[in-house]
């Protein structure tokens, strides 16, 4: 049985639209304009036990709204969802004891008290048996290397340290499902790497089902085999990370290393020359023309080395988002997504 089943899930908001200026503020006292925002539009999704799924999408795509629906924070406009067999927005205690939600830069711990006090409270709230609590806490503290920070008030911890404490608090009751909303946002590279390593180890060991939203491709590449792309409230892709590049990466990057610094200037006929540092030159070439272009270049020019690689994942994703926004009417989430890139290749 799937851990998460979503059918036709929809969430719409009515949002006050206030034009800029004092006059409109005054006018707003008597007459207001509202706009319907369709944050999530009839999405269907199934997640099996032990999967680590990434939700990608531009800002305002509906990623966090989906997590809030699945964690019961908000109620949908239409549609159904079952997580662990429960309807999330009924907020039954039996469900709330089996999942956790962690939001980056959002603090759920007691601000003025050491994290260990919050952990003790979580033990009671989640009815964690004493020896189990001690074991789990010791393991998590050791994995995240925060033993020396347990007695320090949360307000005195750095963002990365607080995030570690938030993760510990969320995992103390060994949830079956974990929702992570941009857990590494605002963290430095080292802290991001630490969190990634921890999540990878924890998920592999515990087989926890995890849904992760992130704007950092390094998080996604390091942790998730499956990626769901949401734009304009709709799922436009659901499959592997490699599949994104194959499906949406329309170009390849060809790197040419010439025998000397005298690089030719007429290579723009083969593609977009975007980086020239003699004797090296890099060209973006349409995927379908790579073989033809390579044959032509090799036949014409003396090269010391040549390589063909996929564009950086971030570039592909950005291109996908831009195209989806364009098809969506400049990111207007009131309109249905007309993207031609809808692909469910799971």
């Amino acid at each position: 049985m799937p851990m998460i089943e979503i059918q036709g899930l929809t969430k719409s908001y009515r949002v006050y639209q206030k034009p800029e200026g004092l006059w409109h503020s005054v006018r707003g006292l008597f007459r207001r304009q509202y706009r319907d925002v369709h944050a999530v539009r009839s999405i269907d999704l199934t997640v099996d036990e032990g999967e680590f799924v990434a939700f990608l999408g531009p800002n305002g795509a509906g990623k966090t709204t989906t997590l809030k629906l699945l964690s019961g924070v908000i109620t949908p406009t239409e549609g159904t969802a079952r997580v662990l067999g429960f309807t999330p927005w009924k907020r039954e205690n039996d469900y709330r004891r089996r999942f956790a939600l962690v939001m980056g830069q959002k603090n759920q711990l007691w601000w003025d008290l050491p994290a260990q006090e919050s952990f003790r409270l979580h033990q009671q709230i989640y009815a964690i048996e004493s020896s189990q609590f001690d074991r789990t806490l010791a393991e998590l503290v050791d994995l995240l290397d925060v033993a020396e920070l347990l007695g320090r008030p949360v307000r005195e911890l750095s963002l990365g340290e607080r995030m570690k404490m938030e993760l510990i608090a969320a995992l103390l009751h060994s949830p079956d499902v974990l929702f992570l909303d941009e857990p590494t946002i605002g963290l430095d590279v080292v802290a991001q790497h630490n969190i990634q390593s921890f999540l990878r180890y924890y998920q592999e060991k515990r087989r926890t089902t995890i849904l992760l939203t992130s704007h950092y491709m390094k998080d996604v590449a390091a942790l998730c085999k499956r990626v769901v792309i949401i734009t304009g409230g709709e799922i436009m892709y659901d499959g592997s990370l490699a599949g994104i590049i194959d499906g949406f990466g329309g170009q390849k990057i060809v790197t040419l290393l010439f025998v000397d610094d005298n690089v030719p200037s007429d290579l723009s006929r083969f593609g977009e020359v975007f980086d020239v540092q003699p004797p090296k030159m890099r060209i973006r070439v349409q995927r379908s023309r790579v073989a033809e272009v390579m044959a032509a270049i090799l036949a014409t020019y003396a090269l010391e080395d040549v390589s063909v690689e996929d564009p950086p994942l971030e570039d592909v994703i950005a291109d996908v988002f831009n195209r989806a926004s364009h098809d969506n009417g400049s990111g207007d989430s009131t309109q249905p997504n007309q993207s031609s890139f809808t692909a469910r290749t799971r």
Binding site: V73, N93, R96, F99, A100, D112, R120, H122, D181
Partner: protein, 273 residues
Amino acid sequence: MMARVTTWWTILRICIEERLVYRADFALGTLMRFLPIVTQVFLWGAIFAANGDTRIAGKYDFSDMIAYYLLTMVGRAFSSMPGLASGISLDIREGTIKKYLTQPIDMVGFLLLNRMAHKLVYYSVAIGPFALVFWLCRGYFADGWPEPLVMLAFIATLIMGFLLGFFLEAAIGMIGFWFLEVSSLLFVYMLFNFFCSGHMFPIDILPEFARRIIELLLLPYLAYYPAAIFLGKVPLEEIPFRLSVQAGWLLFFIVFCYYMFHRGVKRYSGFGG
């Protein structure tokens, strides 16, 4: 049941610990709470001196008024909930209410324990200055201590006053699910509370028609009736009735508060990212 009690105790303990973090604020706040009593004593002294020491509405001389005022301070110490409604609406507006929705915890129950911790901490320290003021003003309590049953009724009204004040202001805070900002509504409530609870003056000095209207409200049960019961202003045979009415209001606001919470959560938009 034992597990639930342990949970409540842990919540209460942590809330108490939180109150004790900022020592200077804690010390100033608790020790200075008796100062308004002193100013009110001087104010009523001046009023009675200017009016030739007559009885107000034929019921209250200067001693009665001071005794009454001191007792309403006790009543308000139990029933006032500073920051509760505004704190709830702020949690809603900023999204920090999420933790109550995603964790297996009753938000209203949690806030109640938090408020109990707040009262326990502040008044366990402020009881010193309060006791000093009461001792200095002991001469104003002409009739001394009431009989045991009346004393029990007084304590019951204080406890119910605490709970009534909590659920009433929590319900006002829940309006934040609809309006996000409740400060104006709170201002209106505090205005009515100030005059109709008996905090400013005993409501039985008002004209008959005004007194009868105000007695229909719940507000006199927050300050006036505890003081009036202690001072013997409420006839013995009427006390059970007043306790029943107060309990009825309490039950109504417990149900109403939870109703507002459940309805509000259904329309909550999950602000704050």
